[in-house]
Symmetry: C2
Subunit: 363 residues, 2 copies
């Protein structure tokens, strides 16, 4: 259920150079035990990158390296909540996080995501009715909807969270891959009190296989997360951290991001054009400005399970809304398409299959 | 508190070759998301290695890759026990595991380790008095004592555990580094019912910085561990797994193990000879057949905290028994020396400092 990046958007040539340099120059550096909170040079240069490119400059904040964004969420659960506590997330939300919450014995309140982000009325009500340990939010190119929270809502959400004195875990895997429109400040960039834990990752821009992510947040919370990490996996794999650091500080880093954005824009546009051509008026879908997903909604009365099954027989996988829902058995009319991983030919063929199958089903 | 391997025992030249081959041949393989349970070829060849060299041939067993042995312990806690449950370990034991237990809210019963392994009387009593979810044991070159459980005790421990229908988590980081004496079967090798989870690691023979370990055990338990891992860090770093696999299957693998054993034997012998020369009769110490540690005991009435402080002033770190104890405040006369990481000159100088400081303190 993770978003699978496009292999052709990986910086394979740069990686080859970086990796051979690593093993020629100082193989020992990659072999010894490393510090639990991550390699100092990677932490320093990530802080600088987030300060420069993302406006994260809160002075009492620190940054630790984690084994992918998923581990950031896992450690946040360990440190911020106990079994039986309540947490809040968007509905729908990233599927795997619901399992992480369940494994920690957490109760979950889900608040509807609208086109401009989580419903403010829903959020205000939920925060009044429940003692929420933390909010798990994906404000930018949300998974699965690709909706992005407006600046006004970002400010209002932060104010509400402050009023109820709770914490935000902001998951931000996709904002470096904005391929259209204006960048918005992250919730972390609005954070004055140290109540936002910002989770970033190299998975979408370098390689998911490396498992290198990071958490930026208040030093006090991060110290506790680092301790939980020490007794979890000691530290993240050192060669992967060294390569991530070389990548981040390589002269071609910004150019690579631009290259990756260009690839995802082309793929997204190709999928949207094909949908406009073959599916216009037959279902509603988002027009994302970044990320990996297009979120679709069938007309009222449509049978999503029937469509999903028929598509599976035609060898086309879609992710039905059910997997992103707290109640997977509740009927849904929404589903997620990913344009990131398939090739151009697969994108066109996939939408053709979707249109053909829908026609066969009278949709 | 992990055992730090000797940098000169790392296969640096082999690693350099393996790593450059990886990036020349198929960089993409290292970049994509991998399977949660680990790379199939690494799992297959580790199973074969454990079958051939360690006699682990139980048919219903499986093997998953974890991000270092510590994660194996963490996942075992997640899957085998709930907060408030009781687990059992050796006294003294590996310090970090006590923190992992505490973070999971587990109660801990500790049973004395004797020279030939955990006390059978103590174990029988503890299993009678407590409902123990699992036993955490390091039967071979135990950390910190370097004691090794005799074959007779291994059989008796397994029988007791079977009688009480509980589970063993066997941590075995050091048995590949036996540099003297006869190998003994692991508890896992005696396991007929699938009640032993065997945790192994590449940290002591390849590199701790990579974070690649493995758990071999009953398929049913491993499926649950893999699921907990999925929601923890998705999978272990792929480049590290590919390199571990190339190392395991390289023609020089056995020769490298032999080379590493030779280094640790020489270092251990040098430390023991220097201790025999300068400290004979002034404290008791073990003569290990493998692993990284020598366990020392001061005579009755000795002031260990005073010695530790005086040694720290002389820039020599020892690990006092307190850090391996459930009750760190209880007075101890034992401490752990590591011969693995320091150079030959540092080993000799370290023991000289120990002897000088003890003389100064009238010990």
């Amino acid at each position: 259920m993770e978003g699978n990046p496009a292999p052709e958007a990986f910086p394979s040539e740069t990686l080859r150079e970086i990796a051979s340099a690593l093993w020629q120059k100082d193989p020992l550096a990659a072999q010894l035990y490393g510090p639990c909170e991550g390699l100092p040079e990677l932490r320093r240069d990530l802080r600088e990158y987030l300060r420069r490119d993302y406006g994260l400059h809160r002075e009492d904040d620190d940054l630790i390296i984690v084994s992918g964004a998923q581990q950031g969420i896992e450690l946040a659960c360990s440190v911020l909540a106990n079994a039986g506590d309540t947490v809040l997330c968007e509905a729908p939300t990233y599927a795997d996080v619901l399992h992480t919450f369940a494994l920690h014995g957490l109760k979950v309140v889900a608040v509807e995501v609208e086109e401009d982000g989580i419903s403010l009325e829903g959020l205000a009500k939920a925060l009044k009715e429940h003692e929420v340990r933390f909010l798990y939010l994906i404000p930018t190119f949300q998974n699965p909807t690709s909706h992005t929270m407006s600046l006004a809502k970002r400010k209002a959400v932060y104010d509400l969270v402050r009023e109820h004195d709770t914490i935000i875990v902001e998951d931000d895997p996709y904002s470096a891959l904005r391929f259209r429109g204006e960048s918005l400040p992250s919730l972390k960039a609005l954070d004055e009190d140290g109540r936002v834990l910002y989770i970033g990752t190299f998975s979408k821009i370098l390689s998911p296989g490396f498992r290198v992510g990071y958490v930026c947040g208040d030093s006090y919370l991060l110290e506790r997360m680092a301790l939980a990490k020490l007794y979890n996996d000691v530290h993240s794999s050192v060669p992967a951290q060294i390569i991530a650091h070389s990548f981040l500080t390589a002269p071609g880093f910004q150019a690579h991001l631009e290259f990756a954005r260009c690839i995802y824009r082309q793929k997204c546009d190709l999928m949207l054009e094909t949908m406009d051509r073959l599916l216009a008026g037959r279902l509603a879908y988002t027009r994302p400005e970044g990320g990996f997903f297009i979120w679709c909604e069938l007309p009222a009365g449509s049978d999503l399970p029937e469509l999903t099954k028929a598509l599976a027989r035609a060898n086309l996988a879609i992710a039905p809304g059910n997997v992103f829902s707290l109640d997977p058995a509740a009927p849904q009319r929404t589903f997620r398409l990913s344009f990131s991983r398939p090739s151009a030919a697969q994108i066109v063929r996939g939408i053709e299959i979707l249109a053909e199958v829908m026609t066969t089903l009278g949709m």
